[in-house]
């Protein structure tokens, strides 16, 4: 699997650190314990396209949001996490 880093170009996936689901939103500090538990532990875990966080650990060290198919490993988009419009 190869990932097109927006800063460094196409690189092997072993240069990257995988950090899981990119869509869960951190609850407010005073949110319920249930909301916090859901945020930390529950995942959609879909078959198909999935927004994930990958860090280009052995490259530019930027955090990226990669939209990848979890069955075919086809990558549809890669953007720098800082440039991402947050999903509501």
């Amino acid at each position: 699997m190869r990932i097109q880093c927006p800063h460094c170009g196409e690189r092997g996936s072993e240069e990257f650190l995988f950090r899981g689901a990119a869509d869960p939103q951190r609850p407010a500090a005073d949110a319920s314990a249930e909301a916090w538990s859901d945020y930390v532990h529950l995942r959609d875990n879909p078959v198909g396209p999935y927004n994930e966080l990958w860090q280009h650990q052995h490259g530019c060290r930027r955090w990226l949001v990669v939209n990848r198919d979890t069955t075919t490993h086809e990558i549809f988009s890669v953007i720098d996490a800082a440039n991402r419009e947050r999903v509501a």
């Binding site: 699997m1 092997g12 996936s13 072993e14 995988f18 950090r19 899981g20 689901a21 314990a33 249930e34 538990s37 859901d38 930390v40 532990h41 529950l42 995942r43 959609d44 875990n45 879909p46 078959v47 999935y50 994930e52 990848r68 979890t70 069955t71 075919t72 490993h73």
Partner: protein, 416 residues
């Protein structure tokens, strides 16, 4: 038809013309007392123990593909009960005891081989951890022996003892551990469940779960609606997908785990050895192939195949532990989809929906648990309450904080 030596002798004389199929191929009935979704080892064992232990015989086990097509045919066949925590260890020991009597119970040769499982350690700190785990096992009445380096050398002399980076300081041995024939386990459970009246329905994919007023009514399938007031999900890597049909989100992520076999060689390793300095385990099959595996690939995956970086990683660990393996050719590799839970331990529990039960979160350790998983899940479904053995394996433990955290690393995604 019972299998026995006499039967084999008789069929040999009749040219094998008297054998019948091992289990029926029934059409689904419109209504069952209980449905198990997933015809892997855990689902089939659940069907078997529902009939055997609880007298429920109007039961269907639904399988999307064919029996043995999923993780049941994709594991490294290791059985053991060398766990640390009270929430896990009695459960896995119950599984080991069921393994020990499984062939007689199922009337099927599952080739259970108690050749021992040896966990190596390579540092003083790892020795302390192994001693602690061994003591926890013995407190639960499970066999465990702490070996020093000389004892390991006497037992498995072909390992790399000259390594200065990862010297072998000893190992924790469970002699009753070993291997079992993975396909025979599902075939044996399917046949034994079928003989007690359970319908094994292959090529029947569940496409929806019908829920009304917080109660489950049955499942929609590619072969029509099948009704039941009790539905148990044992879908391994696809647990999240099936649970989502009932509106549930699970504390699970699906990852691919690869396994490998080498070309067949003469007997070289007569036990199961795990490397303590990397994630690697190896044994030898009866055909002569070395069977080995390592870590998960490390990103969400529903593909039943892995990628090259992990192949390299596993091969490096293999050569580090067994230098002579560098001259072997790798024959095959395959991947299975693992239901990785947030604390590394499984879930066997009711769900917030009445009549819907969940068996999931086996991470990379589901095979050894097959008998006890089915046994406990059958109890949970039949009695609508957990058995003491799976009482800690709750779905809500991540919210309550009562996690079963073998590694002591904290429950979180990206744990593995």
């Amino acid at each position: 038809m019972s299998y026995s030596f006499l039967r084999i002798a008789r069929e040999a004389l009749r040219g094998g013309t008297g054998w019948s199929r091992a289990w029926r191929d029934p059409a689904p009935k419109p209504q069952y007392d209980a449905i198990v979704v997933g015809g892997g080892g855990h689902g089939l064992a659940t069907g078997y123990y529902l009939a055997k232990e609880h007298g429920l015989t109007n039961v269907a086990v639904l399988e999307r593909g064919w029996i043995g097509s999923g993780n049941a045919g994709r594991n490294t066949t290791i059985i053991r009960s060398n766990y640390l925590l009270p929430g896990n260890e009695p459960f896995y020991e119950h599984s080991m005891k069921l393994w020990e009597g499984l062939e007689q119970d199922l009337n099927f040769n599952t080739m259970v081989s108690q050749r021992g499982v040896l966990n190596l350690f390579h540092s003083d700190a790892a020795r302390d951890a192994a001693a602690r785990r061994g003591n926890a096992m013995r407190l639960n009445g499970v066999d465990a022996e702490l070996l020093d380096a000389a004892q390991v050398r006497a037992m498995v002399p072909q390992l790399e003892f000259a390594s200065t980076r990862f010297p072998i300081k000893g190992g924790l041995l469970q002699k009753r551990g070993g291997t079992a024939r993975h396909d025979a386990v599902v075939w044996g459970y399917a046949r034994a469940a079928d003989r007690r009246g359970v319908d094994i329905i292959q090529n029947c994919e569940v496409t929806g779960i019908r829920v009304e007023g917080g109660r489950v009514l049955g499942v929609e399938t590619t072969r029509g609606f099948i009704g039941s007031a009790k539905v148990g999900l044992a879908c391994a890597g696809h647990s999240s997908v099936v649970a989502a049909m009932a509106g549930l989100r699970l504390p699970i992520e699906s990852h691919v785990l690869q396994a490998f076999v080498s070309e067949a060689i003469k007997p070289m390793i007569d036990t199961v050895v795990t490397f303590g300095a990397g994630h690697f385990y190896i044994s030898q099959s009866d055909k002569g192939s070395l069977v080995f595996g390592g870590d998960i690939d490390g990103y969400n995956s529903y593909a039943q195949r892995g990628n090259m970086p992990l192949v390299e990683d596993v091969a490096e660990a293999c050569v580090a532990l067994l230098p002579q393996s560098s001259r072997l050719r790798m024959l095959r590799s395959w991947g299975g989809v693992m239901d990785m839970s947030m604390d590394g331990s499984p879930i066997i529990d009711r769900t917030p929906i009445d009549g819907l039960y969940l068996n999931a979160g086996w991470c990379y350790g589901g095979f050894k648990a097959t008998p006890a998983s089915g046994w406990c899940f059958a109890h949970t479904i039949a009695r609508n309450e957990a058995h003491a053995l799976n009482a800690a394996m709750r779905l809500d433990r991540f919210a309550s904080g009562a996690v079963i955290d073998e590694k002591g690393a904290g429950a979180q995604p990206n744990l593995h």
